[in-house]
């Protein structure tokens, strides 16, 4: 659309409306139209695709998590003797509190699913390769932040599930050589999880991590705009050129449909399985078998294997394997320098991705079956 033709200054007898005057006022001072053009007129090689929606969906989920989180904070008390009661109060007494808490809970799961989907899309599309190495690295840092969000938020309701999942998680961190002891002591703030642990997890969850996520997400978007979208991995130059389109309106439409789908899906989960607390946190687990959130279950089950028992086995499973995996991911764009992006012409990448997904699914299901042996 030509902006000049619709501008009130060009049409002689046109009296600008109040909104037009406001837009003109802001445009003169902020450069609104230029900003809008820069944001929306990003060319997408090969046109819009459903595969590209995950980044926008993640921003949407974060905004919703921030909104529901702030509303929950109006009632939540981050002290060891009131955290459980205030969460029960949110569930049972605050109007729509049960829904807000359940949406926040399932929203965190949606965020993890979408981060993994986004990373998988980038990996399968070969979009981490030159010149997008930094984009990939910042994305990995954001992945770490999302996982830490889930870990720190899990303790806040202060029930048996929260307490023991955190205890197990911190014990795993404790096994890291050199810095493990410091990290565990820093997080716990004492010999056993208590008030100091809750305070530290709360501060991390509501202040440090959101600030870090916003800063890194901004950097991620900046790097994305500098490097430009990678586009499809297959198709001739002629085909890609014919389909090339701007970000607005088609990709925005697809993003909005994706966001609506995630929003509705999260609502369905909140309605179908609302959050229910177990007994208040206590140093005795009783009949409860400690278990982390579902997206960590595969790793939890993996650590139950005999190979990961004993001093060395625990170090291998709890520290060496995940650190090695993260190092591999960080180094990926620097050792995979082949410009070929088509996933069907990168058999090692395809097999590795399938193997990782199979391991995750297999051990998650195994962990669910394992519950029968514990009860």
């Amino acid at each position: 659309m030509d902006i000049k033709h619709s501008s009130p200054a060009v049409i002689p007898d046109h009296q600008p409306s109040a909104i037009e005057k406001l837009v003109a006022f802001l445009d003169e001072r902020v450069g609104l139209k230029e900003m809008q053009a820069k944001m929306l007129n990003e060319p997408i090689p090969g046109g819009s695709r459903w595969a590209y929606v995950f980044g926008s969906i993640l921003l949407f989920i974060f905004a919703m998590q921030a909104l529901t989180g702030v509303l929950l904070m109006f009632y939540y008390v981050p002290t060891a003797d009131h955290a459980y009661d205030s969460t029960q109060y949110i569930i049972h007494d605050v109007d729509y509190g049960w829904f807000l808490l359940s949406y926040h809970f399932w929203g965190s799961s949606a965020m993890v699913v979408c981060v993994v989907a986004h990373m998988s899309q980038v990996f399968l599309w070969g979009a981490y390769k030159k010149p997008r190495e930094l984009l990939w690295l910042v994305g990995l840092a954001l992945f770490g932040i999302v996982i830490t969000f889930g870990f720190t938020g899990y303790l806040l309701p202060w029930d048996q599930r929260a307490f023991w999942a955190t205890t197990v998680g911190v014990e795993i961190l404790d096994k890291t050589p050199v810095i493990g002891d410091f990290i565990a002591r820093f997080l716990k703030g004492g010999p056993t999880p208590g008030q100091m642990t809750l305070s530290r997890f709360f501060v991390l969850h509501v202040m440090i991590l959101p600030a870090a996520l916003m800063a890194l997400a901004g950097l991620h978007l900046f790097l994305f705009r500098v490097a430009a979208p990678a586009g499809p991995y297959s198709g001739t130059k002629e085909e890609i050129k014919a389909k090339t389109d701007y970000f607005f309106p088609r990709q925005i439409w697809k993003d909005m449909v994706g966001m609506a789908f995630v929003f509705v899906g999260t609502c369905v989960l909140a309605l179908w399985e609302p959050v229910v607390l177990l007994d208040q946190a206590a140093p005795d687990p009783g009949d409860y078998h400690p278990e982390p959130e579902w997206y960590f279950l595969f790793y939890f089950q993996l650590l139950r294997l005999k190979i990961f028992s004993g001093e060395f086995g625990q170090f291998l499973g709890a520290v060496a394997l995940p650190v090695l995996f993260m190092i591999l991911l960080v180094a990926l764009p620097f050792f995979d320098k082949d410009p070929e992006r088509n996933i069907f012409k990168r058999p090692i990448a395809l097999i590795s991705w399938i193997a990782i997904m199979v391991v995750i699914v297999l051990f998650t299901v195994a962990s669910v079956i394992n519950r029968e042996f514990l009860d």
């Binding site: 029960q88 569930i91 049972h92 007494d93 109007d95 729509y96 049960w98 829904f99 002629e238 085909e239 014919a242 389909k243 088609r250 449909v257 609506a260 789908f261 509705v264 899906g265 609502c267 369905v268 309605l271 179908w272 609302p274 229910v276 607390l277 177990l278 089950q301 139950r304 294997l305 005999k306 297999l362 051990f363 299901v365 195994a366 079956i369 394992n370 042996f373």
Partner: protein
Amino acid sequence: MVVKAVFAVLLLTMGLVQFEGRFGLAVIMLFISPVSVFSIPIIMALFGTHFGEGIGLEFLFWLSIPVDIWALGVVARTFFLERLRKEPPDGLGLAIWWRSALIGAFFVPLLWWIVSFVTDNAITASHSMAEMEAFRHLTDTGLPVAERIGLELTIWGSISSAVLAVLSLIGVSILGQIIRRMAEGSRPASENYQGLITRWDLMRVPADQGLLLTSLAGVGVVCSLMFWTILPVTTPHPHECCKKPDVEVEPVFKPSQSLNSTAQRVASLTAQIDALEQQQSDKKNQKAKSKGKAGGKTTEDSPAKAKP
């Protein structure tokens, strides 16, 4: 998918539908409703399986029919123009929908039965394998639990997934054959590639964009209002296991009232004590007086008594 999901949320909120444990499966079935619309009732009747309860589930499937016909029409026309480079025939969405629904009615229950049968047998076989002596000798106490679960799951999961993948591939290829036959009868598109792209692209953009945006925004507002109106204020699913404990609420502490009442109580107690003390001192005085009188009388009376 989103249209169907929005209705699923509203029906869940109204309590007209309650998905059962096979939630994921029910959702997938709902989203692939062109092939599951007839097959789900057949599976439920033949195998006694339930995906959910309530009138809402039935309503969702009825509602899915026009949505699916429209969605299949858009996707199929795009496919014909972009991939096959052929003119899409009229009524393509409906033609594909009824064919896929009919095939689904026969094929999906068959797939359900075969996969269930294979999975059940594979689980039994993997159990037996894990209990074999060869594995028992691996360690002193037999195969550890985590390893055993992993091994069994890998065995029956691989067999079951392979069968499911092969049967799904057959089902998709049957649908592909139908679409291919329909494509054989249609004439090639006359435009060049760029022209075809523009055509299928414009198919997705409505003639009156303003009207579409206004109606979409209107529907969104109505759905949001409906959702917040019917959403229960307190949790609709208070689980039996984890009910909120009944706690007696203590009366609100009001310092000034409490101080006043304490002062009053102290004053009344002081008055009571004063009264008691007064009473006691009165008694003492009376006793002393009566003692004195009695003493006087004796002294006065005794000589008289002694005199005679």
